[in-house]
């Protein structure tokens, strides 16, 4: 069908709108085709997102939450950030949806229908923290290229699915397997069908973890389209880009997967620390694995004013990639002194942990409440930005909210 691409092309330039070319062609638009006018629709309605979410990019869609929208223990869809590298797939037919396991290191290639996957393998439900590798990018100086995420590209939802390990054992994996890489149904921004917007993965050790699942439900319901319907890899604690959406194929590789955004500088940081702005050769960039320790104050919203007689109850979440958060503290004097918060154990491994504290302020004035988590290896969040890197990943500097006592 040449028609669709013509519609796509014609509405790229400004004249299309001016001339109403879209109206001329609406009569021949195939059913199920998502009109490009979608780009102009209200994204909050389109994706059922809270009005307080911030649209960073509308082509491709990239939308982030604000700290106070992430107050729930299990994040509801309305507060979940959207990070897309390409265009959301159109015309998904779940009846015909299949998952193929292939690659150099499978004993034989095997294809499963969605129904087969759901009936053949045991179901598991986990609460898993997913954070964009570039969350916090906006704070780097010199600025890093890409979507300028502030703090809202993180969440912890409840995911139901089957273990990737169970599927791989059913297929049969050779001893030389090194890495898994996913392939998905999303469309490259240029609409070039030979290009994948993103195809990432992780080492076999991550593939074989209990919590690495192929999910078909989020928070007890079908995964929303923007979050990977009908099937998605979930690899909690790692850059969320490892958790491939709209999953169609997994390749078991005998080399480190070399799909789109696995190579070059994508999702990589300098293997050795560099000065801000320094040029780093591709060969000196290393793949990000576990995300670093981090936390967010989700209540109150920054900007609270209260009287001196009142105590302030703060709460939020903390997470530490593959590790657990061991200690949670807050400071109201710009990091000079720290007090501990109550910290809950995670619901399961790789789920974020909830913290709370009751704060008294010594006198009237302007305060900032800073939050600092420490992981089970004794590593804490920095108060200033962590090491600069060319693509602006892994900013886990402590979260701050402003409070006024009047």
């Amino acid at each position: 069908m040449k028609r669709r691409s013509f519609v796509a092309k014609s509405s790229l330039g400004g004249l299309a709108t001016l001339l109403g070319v879209d109206i001329v062609y609406k009569n021949v638009m195939p059913e199920g085709y998502t009109p490009l006018a979608l780009q102009d629709l209200d994204p909050f309605k389109l994706f059922n997102k809270d009005k307080g979410m911030v649209v960073l990019n509308d082509k491709p869609w990239n939308i982030e939450a604000q700290a106070h929208l992430l107050d729930d223990k299990v994040t509801p869809n309305k507060s979940i950030f959207i990070r897309n590298n390409g265009l959301i797939p159109e015309d998904i037919d779940v009846e015909k949806w299949t998952l193929t396991i292939d690659g150099e290191s499978v004993k034989q290639e095997k294809t499963y229908s969605l129904v087969e996957l759901k009936s053949k393998f045991e179901h598991h439900t986990y609460k898993l923290t997913l954070e964009c590798g570039g969350n916090g990018r906006s704070e780097f100086d010199p600025p890093a290229k890409g979507n300028q995420w502030t703090i809202g590209a993180v969440y912890c939802a409840s995911w139901t699915g089957i273990r990737l390990r169970d599927v791989l054992e059913d297929v049969g994996i050779k001893d030389d397997a090194v890495y898994f890489g996913y392939h998905a149904a999303d469309v490259h921004l240029s609409r070039d069908p030979s290009k994948e917007p993103i195809s990432r993965g992780a080492p076999m050790s991550k593939a074989m973890q209990d919590e690495t699942i192929l999910a078909f439900k989020m928070n007890g319901e079908d995964i929303p389209l923007a979050h990977g319907y009908p099937l998605r890899v979930i690899a909690g604690g790692w850059p969320a880009s490892v958790s491939g959406k709209w999953l169609q194929r997994i390749s078991i590789r005998n080399i480190v997967h070399d799909g789109t955004k696995m190579t070059g500088t994508a999702y990589r940081v300098p293997c050795k620390p560099v000065a801000p702005g320094e040029k780093v050769a591709d060969k000196d960039m290393c793949i990000i694995e576990s995300m670093p320790v981090k936390s967010l104050i989700t209540y109150p919203k920054s900007g609270a004013t209260l009287s001196k007689s009142k105590k302030l109850n703060i709460r939020g979440h903390a997470w530490a990639g593959e590790l657990e958060v061991a200690k949670m503290e807050y400071s109201i004097d710009f990091g000079a002194t720290w007090s501990s918060c109550n910290l809950e154990k995670p619901a399961n491994r790789l789920a974020w942990q909830h913290f709370s504290a009751e704060i008294s302020f010594p006198q009237e004035g302007y305060y900032e409440v800073w939050a600092r988590a420490t992981d089970s290896n004794g590593v804490s969040q920095p108060m200033l930005l962590p090491g600069w890197n060319p693509k602006g990943y892994l900013n886990n500097a402590c979260h701050r909210i402003a409070v006024k006592i009047a």
């Binding site: 001016l18 006018a37 100086d141 600025p143 890409g146 490259h188 921004l189 209260l306 302030l312």
Partner: protein
């Protein structure tokens, strides 16, 4: 005085000429579009190898204010770009694949824009920009220069509110 009148007349004529050209373009493009439509329509009908496609009407509303060229307070409404020399070249070359929002939120110097363009050409199917490359880069570094924020910026844009507990 005479010269002024003459200039006014000249300008009026220019305006009229512009409108005439625009109208001609509009008519030409609508015509080509219709031809293409008819041509493609018959092709699809007669080609039995084509998958069956159900045709439905999808209401598409284009608001009256949806004027592509509209500029308000120096901002191009449709894209959010700052109106300045090089804006049209930037729109034409940089918003086909991705949104203008991705351009606007990034702050780079000329060298890094150049390498970003090169990266898009090597991996994202961006075409050769020719002489427009310099124009676009100049537009970007002039209107969206990198800002120094230091190791940690002060909290800004705080919306103060009374917290009742």
């Amino acid at each position: 005085m005479k010269k002024q009148n003459h200039d006014k007349l000249k300008n009026d004529f220019k305006e009229l000429y512009k409108k005439f050209i625009l109208a001609s373009i509009v008519i030409a493009i609508v015509g080509i579009g219709l031809l293409y439509f008819i041509f493609d329509f018959s092709l699809s009908i007669f080609n039995s190898n084509e998958p069956e496609t159900e045709i439905v009407e999808i209401p598409v509303e284009i608001p009256v204010e949806d004027d592509f060229d509209k500029i308000e307070n120096g901002i191009h409404i449709k894209t959010g770009f700052i109106e300045a020399p090089g804006m049209m070249e930037t729109i034409q070359n940089c918003t086909n694949c991705h949104s203008s929002k991705l351009v606007i939120q990034n702050r780079m110097n000329a060298e890094r824009w150049k390498s970003t363009i090169k990266w898009m050409q090597e991996t994202q199917n961006l075409w050769d920009l020719g002489a427009n490359e310099t124009v676009i880069i100049k537009y970007l570094v002039t209107n969206y220069p990198p800002k120094k924020v230091g190791r940690r910026a002060v909290l800004k844009d705080i919306e103060w509110y009374r917290l009742e507990e």
